[in-house]
């Protein structure tokens, strides 16, 4: 670490003075917070490569201190993916998440365009209603929907859970996409309409391509939300192995306490793999989406 060069006082003013003048106290505080936010995950990660005997008898840090005497193993991952229900759960998570992302993004994009650029009866009322539903926690929907699902046989079906996620995600999706689509330049559409294009064509050929940043931001948000969801899957899809998603499978391993318990570490990382990839590779869009949803962007 380099020693901080003392500089004329005027230069230390404000945030623009640059990073190099950070004091040791600032660096130490940042380091402590980063450590506190990393160590829990690191512990789980290290444990996932240790034998069940080691991880239940000594702390994970002992393996980091003595890396060459530790018996590192991939066995946990191998067993989680071949014997337990984890592989099926991974596929089930994909079956649930991809349509549960595409369907609400599509519905919301159509609706946002309609509300922003088309004139029709009931427009204000419908839009107001949609946005007002942002206040409703999804818990409010559980009991009556479950009753409907049970009487129509939709419980435990993928379509049922796609539609549930769509319904719960739509208010936010319409709210965010309307904000973006209503700000597109008007002239753009007018020239297309003069050329005889229908609103459907304008929507698919102009609006959608131009809205990619907003669509991507919401899509990533919804993807992570659905992938990480536990409650909706638990209530509408259930725990039977042909439909159980990763979070359900993981929670059932936590509860098992028996045979499978030492596979928990590897199972947890299997469940985190795809959201981490999506998140790290598309972070830019995601951050933009967070900002659009929270401060003016």
């Amino acid at each position: 670490m380099t020693t901080t060069v003392s500089k004329p006082k005027r230069e230390k003013v404000g945030r623009t003075a640059g990073p190099e003048k950070a004091s040791w106290l600032v660096r130490l505080s940042v380091f402590v917070i980063v450590a506190m936010w990393t160590i829990p995950t690191l512990g789980l990660f290290v444990n996932s490569f240790r034998t069940s005997v080691e991880s239940s008898s000594t702390g994970w840090w002992t393996s980091l201190i003595h890396p060459f005497t530790t018996e590192w193993t991939l066995d946990n991952y191998h067993r989680v993916l071949t014997s337990g229900g984890m592989f099926d759960a991974l596929i089930n998570s994909l079956i649930v998440t991809i349509p549960s992302t595409v369907i609400p993004v599509t519905l919301a994009a159509f609706a946002a365009y309609g509300f922003a650029w088309l004139r029709f009866k009931g427009r204000g009322l419908m839009f107001g209603l949609l946005v007002a539903l942002l206040v409703v926690p999804l818990q409010l929907a559980l009991v009556p929907l479950l009753q409907v699902y049970q009487s129509t046989g939709l419980t435990g079906s993928f379509v049922g859970v796609w539609l549930a996620h769509t319904g719960f995600g739509l208010p936010l999706a319409v709210f965010l996409l309307y904000g973006f689509i209503s700000q597109l330049p008007k002239d753009l559409f007018e020239s297309a309409f003069i050329d005889g294009a229908s609103p459907f064509t304008v929507f698919t050929r102009l609006v959608l391509p131009l809205s990619v940043p907003a669509l991507a931001a919401f899509a990533i948000f919804q993807f992570l939300w659905v992938w990480n969801d536990f409650l909706v899957a638990l209530v509408f899809l259930g725990t039977s192995s042909d439909v159980a998603v990763l979070t359900i499978e993981l929670a059932s391993i936590v509860g098992s306490r028996g045979e499978a318990f030492h596979l928990l570490t590897a199972a947890a990382f299997v469940s985190m793999l795809i959201p981490l990839i999506v998140f790290l590779s598309l972070q830019r869009y995601f951050v933009r989406g967070l900002l659009a949803g929270s401060v003016k962007g």
């Binding site: 003013v13 404000g14 945030r15 190099e20 950070a22 505080s29 940042v30 917070i33 936010w37 829990p40 512990g43 789980l44 702390g59 994970w60 596929i91 991809i98 349509p99 595409v102 599509t106 519905l107 159509f110 609706a111 088309l118 029709f120 209603l129 539903l133 942002l134 206040v135 926690p137 818990q139 409010l140 559980l142 009991v143 009556p144 929907l145 079906s157 993928f158 319904g167 719960f168 208010p171 319409v174 309307y178 904000g179 700000q183 005889g196 609103p199 459907f200 064509t201 929507f203 992570l224 990480n228 536990f230 409650l231 979070t247 993981l250 936590v254 985190m272 967070l290 929270s294 401060v295």
Partner: protein
Amino acid sequence: METITPTRPGLKVIQALLLAGVVVLVLWFGLGLLRQPDLFSSLPPNLSKLAQALIAIVLGVVGIWALFYSANTIVEALPGRATELLRPYVFVLPAVAVVTLYLIYPTVGTVVESVTNVPEGSGPLYNYTEAFTNPEVLLALRNNLIWLLLAPAASVLIGLVFAALVDRIKRESLAKSFVFMPLAVSFVGAAVIWKFVYAWKPPGQPQIGILNAAWVWVGGFFVNLGWIEQVEPIAWLQLIPWNTVALIAIMVWLQVGFAMVVLSAAIKGVPAELTEAARIDGASEFQSFIRIVVPSIWGALLTVYTTIAIAVLKVFDIIFVTTGGNFDTSVVAVRMYQEMFRFRNFAQATTMAVILLIAVIPIMVINIRNLRRQGIGK
């Protein structure tokens, strides 16, 4: 682009209806087939699962577009005036219909059930008096209140401090991504991660949870100094009332990244001249941060606080997976789930949901108003 020939509108309509009919039929049968568990039983199990996944995803993703396309084709095939009149509804009605079915209808249903599903001869508020006289529910409400007081404030405070500090160091984005990463982790995954942090082994055995290891290690120093008699590892998730704080720490760990990203962007948006002027007038860096930066990012602070507060009121997964609501850690959402599935008491379950709604509405109104004031999306 094809143009509508006004001479043969009838044929167009029939073609369009046929197309829509085919789309609906394909979807109906396709989705029905998916429910047959032994659909691909001739394939090896993993391949069969993959084939099922592929069909499901294609049906879901292509299906929604095919439905929109055919609805639009029908409307465009209609006579000119009808097209003009109906076209906007092709765009907005699907979304409106889905939220009507999935949010409006059940919300009304929940509220109605909570006041009508009562024993004969008792008033409409029966379920609510039951709830508010049940010590378990009162405990859940108290815990929700503790969560609400601690989690959003701690997340915003740590997020703000980190955003302010990290602004001054090299490798800013690297440091930020470490704190940001838990945002990609599910609540269930976070619960698993922290179960290992809080793990407990009997005294004398090596501790495998880092918190107890640190506790015993630090305690050992004090024992050596003779300040305390002995140090015992603690079962953090069973130690009432600190177990609720231990669970709140998981939530804070998850939410700080969100607070930090939003606040960091807001801090960078504060004009440097403002803080510089304050410094020239003799304010310390800390003073200028409190007096200039914090008031300038007030809107962002409020947004972050209310957003986290709403998430906290609805918290379910973390508690369900770690303690199952035992050891006095239950909250309203966990209570609701238990009423629904363990006790099969839909009357109480809906009552819990309405209590949640009443708690969330004021915070949500502040949140949305605040977003509007900041001109979201512009």
